[in-house]
Symmetry: C2
Subunit: 380 residues, 2 copies
């Protein structure tokens, strides 16, 4: 398919293309899965519902960046030519974009198993759905309620591990089968490997912090945030777009750096919203991070202040009351932890903006600025 | 590298080649892992120790079959030619063989997480090692013993999930990068996808049987045994060898069928040894399956006999005494369950032998007979 500057695709068109690709990848596997019986097929059905109900943040970032890079390159070329070598990879770009969404969902699932979570965004996640369904069957057949609760939870969490494995496999299958020149496919496979290593390292740090195996200093927490989320959410789609569009390594690196700064800003802002945000506007429980004892940059700063002895007794207490929560929140503001993290976000945004003035083409700058506006929208 | 019938490789040479390949795959990643700190690097170190200490059953089966197929094909060809197109894939075959060992270890790790196992063959597995190490650190720093036992176990099991993910990724990377013609690489990728689906379906059935979510009838148990182990242990290496050696689909299918029968026979024999074997000779706890309440073909048959009411009260009792265990074992023999499973093994071996008389070349027949002898060796 030929792309010219006059055929800028709307986000709706992109969403449809990504949804179709994901529907194909999952639908094919869901059909094949029925051979192995209803329980196995159910894994793919549930995964399909969850993946297709997503917002496609990562695939959209990849495709918008890819299209913007091609636009730039084409405006430098002879307009008589119909399509460049790079724009011929657009179908492959969509399949890689969809694969990145599968990777995201594989990470979420294993993260949910590790955290023992059964709910995501107010709905049962795959594990929660399996738990409900197996629980109902158990009650119907045995008549007893909750007698085998441990076994049913084990069954449901096993489903989470196994479905995560299959999504991780499906991600690799898409990368491995990409219809691309050998060198370019290897470049994408390197990128996938780097991304998985860094995300796993981030997840391990996060769990080590939560389990008290790794010391919660600020530097470790910032590194963890970058590894665990920014790498696969921002750096991976941006680098993949650059590689597929045939951009220079300088452009790819500038995009990746910009993406990392933006990703870290998003993560830090998530922490602020979770602690200080208005739950009616942001949909987050204002005290769940405090109840869990989550080691965030806010807490890391508070630990270094004289306010910590007033905060510590309440930190990580599952039964934290609203009154106690508000008490802790006031202390976190007064000791400067809130302002400190706002400052960190500001620094990341400055570094992000600085990258935009570098080798990043103007059309791509707009894609990134658009993302940054979403960040600011959440702050207001 | 050229292969002629005069250069039949010894098993020791093959082991060395496989070990070198695995050492390279893991060593490269273990070095790169140090960038992410000691805890992340430790995952690769432990995985390396465990993988390289293995017996390479699957890679050896692949390479011996591959070499045997090439020998056959070359004896049909002009001896003046130095090497066929197929024998030129030998280096790739070694890398695929090594990747299959990584896949085996990924499955073992996730299986250990799912089963809560900390030991394999009498030694701490990766999870057990992480548990010991983090436990020691916790005691050193806190002075208290076992206060954070739950957290440390969570940390160790998370390590098992994450390392399994990275090994699954590494397996796919080797398949994706295989230096092969496009069609052949796709054939191997299809095979990998099929194998993972079937193994996951088998694992899910096994867990469902254990958790009482799936009814323990004989048919389900036999299907589970085939899916969970025979597919990736026998069918995958045999099919991969056939594909890499350029064998006909008829040969590939005959090998796969023979492999499945042999794999099921092995699995059934494992169950017999675990229940009736001499632990001093086979190294298995004679009553662990009974204590766990493992749904085997032996138990499925016993359930259909009048002996079941005498067996059921002891089945799945963690505190089963040696006396009780011997009581159950006598009942399982008397009710015909032992003989029934011996009959199933006999059937599988007959079907295996029947396949050997089909399209399978004589040289490959010897590789398979060699495996079958190992099975008989365990029975004696």
């Amino acid at each position: 398919m030929t792309i010219t500057s006059s055929t800028v695709r709307s986000r709706t068109d992109l969403c449809t293309a990504i949804e179709n690709e994901l529907g194909g990848l999952i639908g094919k596997r869901a059909s094949a899965a029925t051979v192995y019986g209803p329980d196995f097929a159910r894994l793919w059905e549930l995964a399909g519902q969850n993946v297709l109900g997503g917002k496609f943040v990562r695939p959209l970032l990849l495709m918008e960046t890819y299209d913007a890079l091609n636009q730039t390159q084409q405006s430098h070329q002879n307009h008589q030519e119909t399509g460049t070598a790079e724009s011929r990879h657009r179908e492959t770009a969509i399949s890689i974009a969809a694969a990145i969404e599968l990777l995201h969902y594989a990470f979420l699932l294993h993260d949910d198993v590790i955290d023992g979570d059964l709910v995501r965004r107010g709905h049962p996640n795959l594990i929660g759905s399996l738990l409900e369904e197996a629980g109902e069957t158990a009650r119907e057949t045995s008549g007893a309620d909750g007698t085998r609760a441990g076994s049913v939870l084990h069954w449901a969490q096993t489903g989470g591990i196994l479905m995560g494995d299959m999504l991780l496999a499906a991600t690799h299958q898409s990368f491995a089968r990409a219809d691309l020149p050998h060198e370019l496919r290897l470049r994408l496979l390197d990128l996938l490997e780097h991304t998985i290593n860094e995300t796993v390292a981030g997840e391990q740090l996060d769990v080590g912090l939560g389990d008290g195996v790794i010391a919660p200093d600020l530097q470790t927490i910032l590194v963890m945030c970058g590894y665990k989320t920014a790498t696969y959410t921002f750096e991976l789609p941006l680098r993949a777009a650059a590689a597929l569009a045939g951009a220079d390594f300088a452009v790819e690196n500038a995009l990746a750096t910009a993406g990392r700064h933006l990703g870290l800003a998003f993560q830090l802002q998530d922490d602020l919203l979770s602690t200080f945000g208005d739950p009616r506007r942001h949909g987050k429980d204002p005290f769940s991070d405090l109840r869990e004892g989550k080691e965030t940059a806010i807490i890391a700063h508070a630990r270094t202040t004289t306010a910590w002895p007033d905060i510590e007794p309440f930190f990580g207490r599952p039964e934290l009351s609203v009154g106690d929560g508000e008490h802790v929140r006031r202390h976190l503001t007064r000791c400067g932890a809130e302002a400190f993290v706002e400052g960190l976000i500001e620094e990341q945004m400055q570094a992000f903006n600085h990258q935009l003035t570098s080798t990043i083409p103007a059309s791509v700058r707009n894609v990134l600025l658009d993302l940054a506006v979403q960040l600011e929208g959440r702050q207001s």
